[in-house]
């Protein structure tokens, strides 16, 4: 299968803004969209799906971020969204979605349920993505800066981490041009939703080190004679000192100018 006729689908759902509570684009879903847009020659080649009953206006931010058409699958009360979506995704090679819900009714279970429904492998928390030779390779996010390479044969489901991409630019003209298409309701046996209270209690954070902040700073910089990672710049004028900082930031790819 060549990359040209790869069929890619993206699943998007509106999020709830943490401050204002208004509908907005979910960071993880936008990141999934950003990775998907890199795979296809133009936005028209993407199949973009949303299953749910949010207003069209709530999907607007995704249109402004570059989706040309969002297909909305109306869901009946209690119907399992994963099954509704799976019906539309039968002949799709690669399904991308956000790894976590942006509020509302999302449970973040969708990628798992959907992969089960499609009998396809799930590659969770993707940061980068490559497709070739009938398989998909993913760089997976792990905490504390760790990364892991995953690969699976297509078709596959990839859930994308919100840090996979900088926020996509928002353009009002694309919002006006984009379309939202409502598909006919799918008749499915209503699934049963089990609601149960969350049982896990929050664990108190344990400090990694008992040393005071000042002590830790002294440990991080090279005091006289001690061997530590940093450099203390005492000589030179402010410009030279700033240059040392800038070089450090550049070496660590923290600034790019």
């Amino acid at each position: 299968m060549s990359i040209q006729n790869l069929k890619v689908a993206v699943l998007l759902a509106p999020a709830t803004h943490p401050v204002s509570g208004r509908p907005c684009a979910a960071a993880a879903d936008s990141a999934a969209l950003a990775l998907a847009l890199k795979l296809v020659p133009s936005p028209q080649h993407l199949l973009v799906l949303y299953a749910g009953d949010a207003d069209d206006a709530a999907l607007g931010p995704y249109l402004a971020q570059g989706v040309s058409c969002i297909n909305v699958l109306p869901t009946l009360a209690g119907a399992e969204i994963s099954r509704v979506l799976a019906r539309q995704l039968q002949d799709v090679d690669l399904v991308l979605c956000g790894r976590r819900a942006g509020g509302g009714q999302g449970s973040a279970m969708l990628p798992y349920l959907l992969a089960e429904e499609l009998e396809a492998p799930l590659l969770p928390d993707a940061l980068q993505l490559q497709v070739g030779n009938g398989q998909v390779e993913v760089e997976q996010y792990l905490p504390k800066g760790q990364r892991r390479q995953l690969a699976a044969a297509l078709p596959a489901v990839v859930s994308v981490h919100e840090r996979a991409s900088a926020p996509l630019p928002y353009a009002h003209a694309r919002l006006l041009q984009g379309q939202i298409r409502h598909l006919s309701p799918v008749s499915l046996q209503p699934g049963v939703v089990h609601l149960e209270p969350a049982s896990r209690r929050a664990r108190p954070l344990v400090a990694a080190s008992r040393a005071s902040g000042h002590e830790r700073m002294l440990g991080a910089i090279a005091t006289d004679g001690a061997k530590a990672g940093g450099v203390v710049v005492k000589q030179g004028d402010p410009v030279e000192k700033a240059q040392v900082l800038l070089t450090y930031l550049r070496d660590h790819h923290l600034v790019d100018f």
Binding site: V19, R22, Y170, A171, A173, R174, F257
Partner: protein, 629 residues
């Protein structure tokens, strides 16, 4: 050969060449979109030239005098030549007048020449250096021609030589004018400049005392998304670019240019000229955008990326210092915002924190992404009533985005204290107050601006109040000058205006023993240049016994703090920071305190590191001198 007949021939040849050249240039202007201007503007040219334009030129008396002499002389010579030789009257009396006019023009040309001897860095060189020579040649030619005509046969055989000299001078000098408009030479400015006065995109600039500083709304529903390529400008905008004389007054006033950011307003206008004429841009002989090479462009190709670097666009602080200085009344800020609108509305690629600020405005109605309920937290112990629908307040205080800044909250508290001491009935909107949309509009996001403005106007409709007062000049400008085009008309005052009035009416109880002190005052662009209000803050300082030492750049010539136009969000790197330069201006006065009257100026100047003057808000100064209740 008959000398007068030769002059007649030369005159008509010049006239024909000028007309052909004008037709050629007009075809370039007509690449632009249609514009709503009346032809009757042509009749207004003399008044606009002698009043509005001369008002700006006269700020530099030397060049004003030089221009009056050289242009006045040239126009008189041409008018007399048209009558006497064009219409073949051949009256000796007119020749005498022509000799006088040529003498005047010669004197002017000498003045222009002396300015060009050691020109200031802002002036363009290249073809412009040739201009004094052409003008001198033309003046000498015209003078000789008139002399010959007056003297008749008295000169004898020398007459033939003089006639040849006169014709040569008139041809060489006259070619500058006749061919200038067609070939895009320096004298293009004479024709394009006059037509620009007639068809100026802001006709209201010439009527009455009202300043015309508001950005014009876009009709988003009919897919107006700003300017992508030169041909997307209205034709009279293209014409306005051709009026530029490259004097560089804008360059000398531009804060971004002074800070070494990649923007030179003069070059920006010349870039548009290069674009409309589809040239390679190599003929430009002035200072470039700092750090940028000369580029070519095409009238039908996108401006950004080709003709102009994106950074150039986002360096502008929309402070209007360039527009204020421009003797040809060119609207630089409109140009910048038109280009920004296209980028923001069709691509959304606003650099650095700009896109985030716009997203916050869309999602939370605040620039910083704050909860609206937090806007008046600073007033929690001040007993400021939150206005409810159905109640009435004399004064509605709109705090704006500064309400979220902990430094500026001190100023807001001081303002409330002052207004309460004056026994005004003040109320606030509480969490009902959205952003006014200023930042979104300056960053080119007209859609978000119109949404926010609509929200603000529909909110205000629910409340009953007499006046609005705000300490934020940006909010003030939006409501006073930009909302009317969208259907919102409010009686709004900047807090400096209100306090000045209250002081004049002696409604604010002041301490008798208040110490007199000396400060300097930083005029906010959106209060000074955008609204012409430079007196009210000074009246306030006078009223509370504070002496103001003026900076060199103050009042209408004030230098921006670097925030305007979202420049602190797009944050284009330069050699220096604009607020650092402004603080140097403040240091030069020796004052230990600088008064500000804008939340954004406060933030920018407070952000200057190292030894510096203390930044105090106008309201804080008044509050410190209130009599104890």
């Amino acid at each position: 050969m008959n000398f007068p007949l030769a002059l007649t021939g030369l005159f008509w040849l010049g006239a024909i060449l000028l007309s052909l050249g004008l037709a050629r240039r007009a075809a370039l202007w007509r690449q632009g979109r249609a514009a709503q201007v009346a032809w009757s503007g042509l009749f207004a040219i003399p008044k606009r030239y002698f009043v509005d334009l001369h008002h700006v030129v006269a700020r530099d008396p030397f060049i004003a005098r030089a221009h009056v002499a050289v242009a006045g002389g040239a126009v008189a010579v041409l008018a007399l030549a048209a009558a006497n030789y064009g219409l073949m009257l051949y009256l000796p009396a007119l020749d005498v007048l022509m000799l006088l006019a040529a003498g005047l023009m010669f004197a002017g040309a000498m003045l222009v020449r002396s300015r060009r001897k050691s020109p200031p860095a802002r002036l363009s060189k290249g073809a412009w250096n040739r201009l004094p020579r052409s003008l001198t040649l033309f003046a000498i030619g015209a003078g000789l021609a008139a002399l010959l005509a007056i003297s008749g046969d008295a000169l004898g055989s020398a007459a033939r030589l003089l006639a040849l000299l006169a014709l040569a001078g008139l041809t060489l000098g006259g070619a500058e004018l006749a061919l200038g408009i067609g070939l895009g030479g320096p004298m293009k400015h004479a024709v394009a400049g006059l037509l620009h006065l007639a068809f100026h995109p802001r006709q209201e600039r010439f009527s009455g005392n009202k300043r015309s500083t508001d950005l014009k709304p876009l009709d988003l529903d009919s897919n107006e998304f700003g300017v992508e390529k030169p041909a997307d400008f209205a034709w009279n905008r293209l014409l306005s670019f051709d009026a530029c004389v490259q004097c560089g007054k804008c360059e000398a006033a531009c804060p971004a240019y002074a800070a070494g950011q990649p923007l030179n307003p003069k070059k920006l206008i010349q870039d548009m000229v290069t674009g409309l004429a589809s040239g390679d841009g190599q003929g430009y002989a002035g200072n470039p955008h700092p750090g940028q090479a000369l580029r070519g462009g095409d009238a039908q190709q996108p401006i950004l990326g080709g003709l102009l670097a994106e950074d150039t666009l986002w360096a502008c602080t929309t402070c209007r210092a360039c527009v204020q200085e421009c003797p040809m009344l060119i609207e630089h800020v409109d140009t910048v915002v038109s280009l920004r609108r296209h980028v923001t509305l069709t691509r959304g690629t606003v650099p650095n924190k700009g896109a985030e600020a716009l997203a916050n405005l869309r999602d939370t109605d605040t620039v910083g992404g704050y909860p609206l309920a937090a806007r008046y937290h600073w007033a929690v112990d001040l007993n400021v009533p939150v206005l409810l629908p159905g109640e009435h307040a004399d004064w509605l205080l709109l705090a704006g985005e500064g309400a979220f800044d902990m430094r500026y909250q001190r100023a807001l508290r001081a303002l409330v204290q002052v207004l309460k001491a004056a026994n005004l009935k003040v109320a606030v909107l509480g969490e009902a107050e959205p952003d006014c949309g200023d930042l979104a509009r300056r960053l080119g996001d007209e859609a978000t601006f119109q949404q926010l403005a609509g929200k603000m106007m529909s909110t205000l409709r629910h409340y009953s109040f007499d006046h609005i007062v705000t300490p934020d000049p940006h909010l003030f400008h939006c409501l006073a000058n930009e909302y009317p085009a969208l259907g919102g008309n409010y009686r709004i005052q900047h807090h400096s205006q209100l306090i000045a009035e209250l002081l004049a009416k002696q409604q604010i109880p002041l301490r008798a023993d208040a110490e007199t002190s000396t400060i300097t005052y930083h005029d906010p662009c959106y209060l000074g240049r955008y609204n012409g209000e430079i007196d009210a803050p000074r009246q306030v300082f006078k009223g509370i016994g504070i002496k103001v030492v003026e900076m060199e750049r103050s009042g209408m010539k004030s230098r921006c703090c670097g925030w305007g136009g979202g420049a602190s969000f797009t944050d284009i790197p330069g050699e220096r920071r604009i607020p650092d330069m402004r603080m140097d201006d403040i240091r030069a006065t020796g004052a230990s305190q600088v008064a500000v009257a804008c939340p954004n100026c406060t933030a920018m100047l407070e952000g200057v590191v190292g030894e510096r003057a203390e930044v105090v808000e106008l309201a804080e100064l008044v509050a410190a001198r209130l009599a104890k209740a």
